[in-house]
Amino acid sequence: MSRTLRGAAAIVGVADDCSPTGELEDHGRALEARMVREALADAGLDLADVDGVCHAQSAMGFAEYLGIHPRFTDSTNTGGSSFEVHAEHAAAAIAAGLAEVVVSVYAATPRSDRRAGRGGGRVPPAGPNPSAEWEWPYRLRMPMGPYALAASRHMHEFGTTSEQLAEIAVSTRAWAALNPKARFRDPISVDDVLSSPMQCSPLHLLDCCLVTDGAGAFVMTSAERARSLRAPAAYVLGAATCHDHMIVSQMPDLTTTPGAVSGPAAFSMAGVKPDDVSLLMGYDSFTITALLHLEDLGFCEKGEGGPFVAEGRTAPGGALPMNTNGGGLSYTHPGMYGMFLIVEAVRQLRGECGERQVDGAEIAVAHGSGMVLSCMSTLVLGTEATL
């Protein structure tokens, strides 16, 4: 039995939508359906080809809405990393012959929902649960509170500074300046980040991701079928997932995420080293999140993330292009941003990114982070030349 997914499957179609206004016209199932239609069109496939569906809330409900009868279904929800997990599961299903064409879709419109009065607030789940019992009484603001705690610990152990975290926001904004669909495109400085209002210390407003509408989808099929399609495919070279807690007070070490497991595992499967990576799409819910990815994935040593991001190393023209669409910090962040990591990684490998295109991109990593640094899922994608 095969123990690797390397080269078994490929992403052949992607779509996403967001807007500089932060809002989209459509929402809910209509928006999800539009994303699937666009991703299938991008792939040169039809809905009738789809025999697997991934959806982080209800794959069954979504398949019913589309009127399809998939033989592979996955409603895994690991928060923002759900879509990297879907990609991993889809590749495994395709490799095992459980499905041939799998779609994953995401849409959320928190910004226009609020204006339109759609949806409700957070409803506490019935009955005992650890979060309500051991954390809610202390009014830790979600989602930034747990990340602020992680940043405080990282600063204590390694001397990381707010200026270093700010460098990540500055570099990411420089990428957003090259993306016409990004929410915020005006350049910012380290001083701008440090003078933006403090939220949960040590995180300032500009250390935090956006709240926008956004949606996306990807289509994955077998490598064999991918070669028969018109657009260049992004092949799955490696995929791995790990979670080590659900609530932050159960996180074993606030300076090391389970990406320290998923990252090396995915890189090992892919047969690549950090130096081989053309670009990193590393979930930037907060600046500290991206910094932890750089360490846990092995781009630098643990504790060295602060110095690593200095002098624009992850900015346009830097040695490690990171979050080239402008990231959750400046492009879009509807809540579970992991879908957009994959969409951008695929577009970069296809050379479709215009001004922000990374020259000669061959290997792209989409590294999703779910819940409160809880579930990391690493997807290594490559062009056909990397197989």
């Binding site: 506490p124 309500a132 019992e133 009014r139 949960c200």
Partner: protein
């Protein structure tokens, strides 16, 4: 009871106890901090469970805790109004001397919430006679 910070806001949202954690909350009526321990591992189990998350053993018992610990991580909420509170407050993760980690608020000046600082448990009354464990700086421990 702290006059400012979270206590100055509306009543705290405290979730219901599980069957396994009920002894923890009952002890707070007497302002006693108790921890569930696994007799096999001789280590605390926090949060309380029906089985030990290390060995899956069910030989669990309750022991008194010292209430002393150190701040492992800390944040100050600078937008307290977003959480229904009126003044900035500190949320801390505290590593207790016994090896368990608890979230809490630091009573008093939130600016004193520094990682590594020694703290002791203190108690805030809840309406039903239980108490919520919080922490205060332990100046004697330094």
């Amino acid at each position: 009871m702290s006059a400012t910070g979270p206590a100055a806001g509306p009543p705290r949202m405290v979730g219901p106890a599980s069957p396994e954690s009920a002894p923890f909350w009952e002890a707070t009526r007497e302002r006693r901090l108790v921890l569930q321990w696994c007799r096999e591992c001789d280590r605390p189990v926090q949060y309380p469970r029906a089985v030990c998350p290390r060995c899956m053993g069910s030989a669990l018992e309750w022991r008194e805790a010292s209430g002393a610990g150190r701040i492992y991580a800390a944040t100050v909420e600078h937008r307290p109004e977003t959480m229904g509170a009126s003044e900035p407050y500190a949320v801390v993760l505290v590593d207790l001397a016994e090896g368990a980690r608890l979230m809490g608020n630091l009573a008093g000046d939130p600016a004193a919430a520094r990682v590594g600082a020694s703290v002791r448990v203190t108690w805030e009354p809840l309406e039903d006679g239980r108490h919520l464990p919080l922490f205060e700086l332990d100046k004697e421990a330094g």
